[in-house]
C-alpha cells in the first residue's frame, strides 16, 4: 500500500497504524530523509516500511512510487492520499489572493487525487483494493479562515461519491476520512499558545484532539480492510464528536 504525505502528522500516524496491521507501507514523501521517523514507527509497529520519493504534483514520481511497490511486492491493495499543500495551515485572504495560491492547493489535493486514482487503477482492480482520501471537516462545513483548503477537501468528497459508483463494478472501494487530529502546526501551538489549544480541545466532546496513530489510524485501516468490504462512497468523520451535523 501507499500513503502520501506520510512524513508527519496524520500521514505518519496512519502509516504506523497500517504497520500495526502488518502491511507493507509505501511511505510517500517529497524528501526521503523526512521519512525516517515514519519508517521507524512502521517497523516498530510490525509492518514493513518502504520509503518512496513521491511528490504527488509530479506525475512521474507518483507513477514510479506505485510501480516500485508493485514490482517489489507484487501487488497494491490500497492507496491513502493524505498529502496537502504546504500552505494548507495558512489563512487564505480570499478577497485579495490570486489563482497561484489556489493552484498550490488544487495541484496537491484535487489534481493528484485524480492522477493517483488513474495510476493505481489497474493494480487496485487486480486486488479489488481500496482508495482512501484524507479529507477534512473543513471540506464539509466550510472554513472562514481556509476557504481554499475547504473547497479542495470538499472536492475530494465529491470525487469519492462519484468514483465509488464508477469503480464499484470493479469491486474497488473509494472512501474518505475527515479527521480532527493533532498536526505539527498544532504541536507548535501547544508550546506557543497553550490556552488557544485548550480552547480548541474544549470544543471536542471527548475533550482532546485526535492522535494520528491511535485515533485516526484504526478507522483508516478499517476502511481499507475486508471488514469494510460493503462500505464505499462514504466520508467517516473522526473528530471526537466535534462535528456532529455533517
Amino acid at each position: 500500500m501507499l500513503v502520501t504525505g506520510a512524513g508527519a502528522g496524520v500521514g505518519r500516524g496512519v502509516s504506523a497504524a497500517f504497520g500495526a496491521a502488518g502491511a507493507i507501507v509505501g511511505i510517500g514523501v517529497r524528501r526521503p530523509e523526512a521519512a525516517e521517523e515514519t519508517a521507524a514507527d512502521v517497523a516498530a509497529a510490525g509492518g514493513t516500511p518502504v520509503i518512496l520519493r513521491c511528490d504527488v504534483t509530479i506525475a512521474e514520481q507518483s507513477a514510479a512510487a506505485i510501480a516500485q511497490l508493485v514490482v517489489d511486492y507484487g501487488r497494491l491493495d490500497a492507496v491513502v492520499h493524505n498529502a496537502v499543500s504546504g500552505r494548507s495551515s495558512e489563512a487564505t485572504d480570499f478577497e485579495n489572493t490570486t489563482l497561484e495560491e489556489w493552484e498550490d492547493h488544487s495541484s496537491v489535493t484535487v489534481r493528484a487525487t485524480w492522477r493517483l486514482a488513474v495510476q493505481a487503477y489497474p493494480h487496485l482492480q487486480k486486488t479489488q483494493g481500496s482508495y482512501l482520501l484524507m479529507s477534512s471537516p473543513a471540506g464539509i462545513e466550510g472554513s472562514e479562515r481556509a476557504p481554499f483548503y475547504s473547497a479542495v477537501k470538499a472536492a475530494q468528497r465529491g470525487f469519492v461519491r462519484a468514483l465509488a459508483r464508477e469503480w464499484g463494478p470493479d469491486h474497488i472501494r473509494v472512501n474518505s476520512v475527515a479527521p480532527l487530529a493533532i498536526s505539527p502546526a498544532l504541536e507548535n501551538m501547544k508550546v506557543l499558545e497553550p490556552e488557544r489549544v485548550k480552547r480548541i480541545e474544549g470544543l471536542v466532546p471527548l475533550g482532546r484532539l485526535g492522535d494520528p496513530e491511535t485515533d485516526i489510524g484504526p478507522p483508516s485501516v478499517f476502511l481499507c480492510s475486508d471488514e469494510a468490504r460493503y462500505v464505499t462512497g462514504q466520508t467517516l468523520v473522526v473528530s471526537g464528536g466535534r462535528f456532529t451535523s455533517l
Binding site: 489563482l99 488544487s106 489534481r111 470538499a154 468528497r157 465529491g158 470525487f159 468514483l163 459508483r165
Partner: protein, 228 residues
C-alpha cells in the same frame, strides 16, 4: 423613491443561468449579464467585465451558474488526459473562485449571492467524476465565503437542481448532448418547471425575511434527492 434591485448574472451561454437572466429581464427586473464568452478563470478579464457592467455602483444580487460544458461529457476518469481533467473539473472551481472574488467588489452591503449547481455531487454519478468533484468544491467554497461575508450582511446560498434542468434551463433539448445519468430516485412531487422553482427561491432569498439564511443548500428537484 427606492431604487429597483439589480441582479448580476454570471453564467455560461446556455442552461439555467442564462434562462434565469432572461426570465428576470422579461418580467422587468434590472439585470446585468456577463458576456457568455468571458473566460471566468481570468481574474483581470472578469474584473474588467464586472466594472464595465456595474460602473461605479453596486449590485444587490449575484447569481452564479457557471459550470464549464466539458464537465457534462460522461467518461471514466482513467480515459481522461490531464488537460481534459483540468478543463472538466478544475476550470469550474477556478472560475467560481474568480467570479465570487470579483463579485464581492461590486456587491452592496446586505447583498445576496446565489449559486446554482446540479444535484449530482450529493449522490455521485459514475463517469461524471470531474463534475461531481467541481460541484462539491464550489458548494463548500460558497459556505466558506458565507462565513467571511456575513459581517457585511451579505448572504451566500446554493440552490441545486437536477442535472438536466441545470444544463437546459428553459431551452429545447434537441441540440444538447445529455449525459446518461442513472435514476437514483423518483421525484416526490409531480413534474414542473425547474426555472419557475428556481425563480421562486431566488425571490425568496432576496426578501428581508431571508436575511438570516446563509451558507444554506436549497435543493429544488421536486424531492428526488433528499438529504440524509
Amino acid at each position: 423613491m427606492a431604487t429597483a434591485p439589480t441582479t448580476l448574472v454570471i453564467a455560461t451561454k446556455s442552461g439555467i443561468g442564462a434562462s434565469l437572466a432572461k426570465r428576470l429581464r422579461d418580467r422587468g427586473d434590472s439585470v446585468l449579464h456577463t458576456d457568455p464568452s468571458l473566460d471566468l478563470a481570468d481574474a483581470s478579464a472578469v474584473a474588467d467585465s464586472l466594472r464595465s457592467l456595474v460602473g461605479s455602483g453596486t449590485v444587490d444580487r449575484v447569481v452564479l451558474a457557471a459550470i464549464d460544458p466539458s464537465a457534462f461529457r460522461a467518461a471514466p476518469i482513467n480515459s481522461l488526459t490531464e488537460a481534459e481533467w483540468d478543463q472538466a473539473a478544475e476550470y469550474s472551481m477556478r472560475a467560481a473562485f474568480v467570479a465570487l472574488q470579483q463579485a464581492y467588489e461590486v456587491l452592496a452591503d446586505g447583498g445576496r449571492v446565489i449559486l446554482i449547481l446540479p444535484t449530482v455531487a450529493t449522490t455521485g454519478v459514475a463517469d461524471l467524476v470531474p463534475l461531481c468533484t467541481a460541484v462539491e468544491a464550489i458548494r463548500v467554497m460558497a459556505k466558506a465565503v458565507a462565513r467571511r461575508w456575513g459581517a457585511r450582511s451579505i448572504t451566500v446560498n446554493t440552490i441545486e437542481v437536477e442535472l438536466a434542468a441545470f444544463m437546459l434551463g428553459d431551452e429545447d433539448a434537441t441540440d444538447v448532448v445529455m449525459p446518461v445519468v442513472p435514476v437514483l430516485g423518483q421525484s416526490a412531487l409531480p413534474p414542473g418547471s425547474a426555472i419557475d422553482d428556481v425563480l421562486g427561491l431566488v425571490d425568496m432569498l432576496a426578501t428581508p425575511a431571508a436575511g438570516a439564511i446563509t451558507g444554506a443548500l436549497l435543493v429544488a428537484d421536486r424531492g428526488t434527492v433528499m438529504q440524509p
